[in-house]
Symmetry: C2
Subunit: 233 residues, 2 copies
DNA sequence: CAATGAGATAATGTCGACATTTTATGATAA
DNA sequence: TTATCATAAAATGTCGACATTATCTCATTG
């Protein structure tokens, strides 16, 4: 029955690939808590596939450090810690600064145009942030990605994406409503404008410093958030 | 029979983990050529395991970009290209410079001692480079790792390791004997000494520039190497 | 003679089953 | 009552088998 289902929608991809996306989403959004045991029975139930695709998907998330495995004791969601949070955000800030610096050097007109377009798309959604925070986060990310893309290095951009995903896990766990704070939001918007100005002026040093501070501020906010150890269980 | 073999050596790890290491080595050293199709029958034969552990191992290498997968057409070794080689080496140079800069800021006495120890171990093997190039490469890598470790960031160091592995693939493919060239070797040793001096002086800017050039020179050598497209097939 | 297509061959992707190991349960003894 | 150990229950890791899909062979046709 399940076997024939694959035959019916013949355009279906590799089963594991779909599971990777869904499972990653479930971990990043916190549906599966940090440190939680991932029992095969439950995963089979949730994603409607056998163990083989599940183990393949989990193996991929293993390299991305979203799950951990113990020899004969199955898979667990990668635990969280303040230390790791600090490290991820600090590294992310450095990598993003690197991308920005290279982008200022190498970026062309198309790159600048992409930044302005993404900034426009993001600003237009400013008031809707309370209504659909997820869509705003998407546009926010698109804005920063448009900037970083100018470094023109697929390898570096992939490192950047991986770090973004790891960080978004921490963001989703604690910052769900803090984003709605209008003070920090206004400050964010101002920082974005300053960043765009520096980029179009070709001031790489200033842009690097701006982006570094921009990415470090949520880390400082998370630093003071209590209740980490409970989630880490 | 194969099933009971796992029971005999009871300390055996997860089967896939062993395969990941061996398979990665075989790809990095060029036993499996870039673009080559990885047929399950052959892999089963070589590593003496079933398809399930193999697919798990391949899934992990998939994220590390050492293999690629096409929907119903199985796995292939990730192809090589001059463009990717340039990108990997350039990114690696920037990341290593970042590690070095942070290490100069944060490094303590133990860090400095580790560098001197690794430098000694490497220099003592200088004349043996023709006899056992692989051992020299290990010590060379240990030297640079001792330096980078000072950045004190597990996340960043893991990015660094991943890039090193990708780059070592290109190095193994074309630079097997070029390393034995004594001119470039002497220049390398001199660069190492300059780097150590800059590090112990706490001159981060100079150290960053030195390491950047140090890592970019093999890329320039590989740039002029012909015969890439044949291997890419 | 080249191109097309049908049948045969081979390879992939998935599931169910089985052995092994871990974890939970409960009975016995000090 | 509590600690220890044997037994039961559950969960993991691996393999063989099967359906599906891709690739190869080769005869037929325009």
């Amino acid at each position: 029955m399940t076997k024939t289902r694959l035959a019916i929608d013949s355009r279906s991809d590799n089963s594991a690939l779909k599971v990777v996306g869904d499972l990653k989403q479930d971990i990043l959004t916190g549906y599966f808590k940090p440190g939680e045991k991932l029992k095969m029975a439950r995963l089979k139930e949730r994603y409607q596939v056998g163990v083989s695709p599940l183990r393949e998907a989990l193996s991929q998330l293993l390299i991305e450090q979203l799950v951990v495995v113990e020899n004969q004791r199955g898979f667990k969601v990668h635990p969280v810690s303040r230390e790791e949070m600090r490290d991820i955000y600090a590294t992310r800030a450095e990598i993003e600064a690197l991308c920005v610096g290279l982008a200022v050097e190498k970026g062309d007109d198309e790159w600048e145009a992409g930044i302005l377009a993404a900034a426009h798309t993001m600003h237009k959604f400013g008031e809707m942030i309370d209504k659909d925070p997820q869509e705003w986060e998407r546009r926010h990310q698109a804005f920063h990605t448009a900037i970083a893309r100018g470094c023109n290095s697929p390898t570096l951009l992939q490192v950047r994406r991986s770090l973004y995903e790891k960080a978004s896990r921490y963001r989703n766990l604690w910052l769900k409503e803090n984003m709605a704070n209008s003070d920090v939001f206004d400050a964010n918007q101002k920082e974005h404008q300053q960043l765009v100005d520096a980029l179009l002026d070709g001031d790489g040093d200033r842009a690097r410093e701006l982006i570094r501070q921009h990415l470090l501020s949520p880390s400082r906010a998370l630093e003071q958030t209590p209740g980490l150890e409970e989630l880490a269980g």
